[in-house]
């Protein structure tokens, strides 16, 4: 599947919009709570590959100050047609659920962020300044303020 995406990178936007963003709850459930480690690992690789191919294909300049507002998508129908907005919306949704699960199953999820951050400096700046992920990640997973494993709730995504 990853090879097919590499062969026709023009369609990566469509897949991102139709399969990832519109089914974000399903994607996150696969990525975070599937009992099979291989499924989680390959979902993570597929999502990472899709995003990176899309960024490279359309030479997307990401905005590290991006913040998603609730009515952005509803008021402006063309909001997601902008490549930068599409990628940043997916990333915001990906990190936006409540981090209340144990770190022990989330290796592929962290690996996905690591690959994205490694590939694009703007994503790294966004993660430090806007998303502020280090404190909740370390707080929740390492110090285990909450250690129970729960599925992400649809309302929190």
């Amino acid at each position: 599947m990853m090879k097919i995406i590499s062969i026709c990178p023009e369609n990566s936007g469509e897949i991102l919009r139709g399969e990832i963003l519109n089914r974000i709850y399903g994607t996150l459930t696969l990525l975070l709570s599937c009992p099979d480690e291989a499924v989680r690992r390959w979902t993570s690789r597929l999502v990472t590959h899709l995003i990176l191919v899309y960024i490279n294909q359309f030479d997307v300049q990401l905005d590290p100050t991006f913040e998603l507002k609730e009515d952005d998508i509803e008021k402006n129908p063309d909001f997601l047609n902008e490549p930068s907005n599409l990628v940043m919306t997916i990333l915001t949704r990906m990190k936006g659920f409540k981090l209340d699960s144990s770190y022990k199953r989330m290796g592929p999820y962290f690996h996905m962020w690591y690959k994205l951050v490694l590939a694009n400096d703007n994503i790294a700046i966004w993660m430090i300044s806007k998303a502020k992920i280090i404190a909740p990640y370390l707080g929740n997973f390492v110090f285990e303020q909450t250690s129970s494993w729960t599925r992400p709730k649809a309302s929190t995504i």
Binding site: D121, I125, V142
Partner: protein, 278 residues
């Protein structure tokens, strides 16, 4: 896959890999180092800084069961947190030395952290070395069989320890220095001693100043002149016995994990020997 590795070992290693913090540390380590770059103007928040300098975090990571050389992300974080932070380094050194003194087989994590702290470049590096490796002084113990000569205790037995390496840590007298632990481990647990030797040689070969400092250290026993004479002899005896055990087709004669270190030890010893000849 290793031929000697059973299916059970493989599934265990997969579980360990799955439950490891490595992926989380990779991303946190990368972002922490990213903030140090000159061309970007982003800073970590005080809360994040506090978390990254919290020894409890590293304590938890070090208790994870990784294998040799799988601590790249941890070492990266240590390098970030220990930079210009002597208090943090001292706390970590105390933690590592205390855990190493038990001479347990699961000492690799502490050795990895210690080797990273020793090689961090900062103004008080030499003080840190004294804390870790200790300074040599004559071994003194309440032993009436020892005769006082010229104000020193002299033991008639050549195999009794004659030199101690005192750490400059004033935290507690129960924490021995790294070299003292190494010498103790040669009696208690030889496999652990070999693993510790690999890391000692790695540290010494990694820094010229440290090499010049430790190469002049005296031997812990009267038989040898220098510390490195004792090291070479110890390794020689260990390998000879290992080979002899293998003649009888006993692959588990030595601790299995220790066997992984043999090629590494050979390489490090060759570099160390070349440095001495120079």
């Amino acid at each position: 896959m290793d031929k000697t590795q059973s299916k059970y070992d493989l599934s265990q290693s997969l579980i360990v890999h799955e439950q490891s913090l490595d992926n989380l540390l990779k991303i946190v380590g990368h972002l922490a180092h990213f903030t140090l770059r000159k061309d970007v103007e982003v800073e970590l928040s005080p809360r994040e800084q506090e978390m990254l300098h919290n020894p409890n975090l590293f304590d938890k990571i070090m208790k994870e069961n990784y294998s040799f050389n799988k601590y790249k992300s941890l070492k990266r974080l240590i390098a970030f947190s220990g930079m210009n932070n002597n208090f943090f380094c001292t706390v970590m050194v105390i933690n590592c030395l205390k855990n190493l003194s038990y001479c347990l087989d699961s000492c690799i994590a502490y050795l990895e952290v210690l080797s990273e702290i020793v090689l961090i470049q900062h103004s008080e590096q030499e003080l840190m070395w004294e804390m870790v490796f200790g300074f040599p002084n004559v071994f003194y113990e309440t032993d009436f069989h020892r005769v006082m000569k010229f104000g020193f205790q002299s033991s008639r037995s050549l195999v009794k320890m004659s030199m101690n390496y005192m750490t400059s840590l004033r935290f507690s007298s129960s924490i021995p220095s790294f070299l003292r632990t190494l010498v103790d481990a040669s009696d208690k647990n030889e496999s652990t001693c070999i693993i510790m030797l690999v890391f000692l040689l790695q540290m010494v070969n990694g820094n010229k100043k440290l090499f010049e400092k430790l190469v002049r250290y005296p031997s812990p026993y009267h038989i040898y002149e220098n510390l490195y004479d004792w090291i070479f002899q110890f390794v020689k005896v260990y390998w000879e016995r290992d080979r002899r055990d293998n003649v009888f087709n006993n692959p588990y004669a030595t601790y299995k994990q220790c066997k992984m270190f043999n090629p590494k030890l050979k390489d490090e010893l060759i570099i160390f020997e070349e440095n001495i000849i120079k």
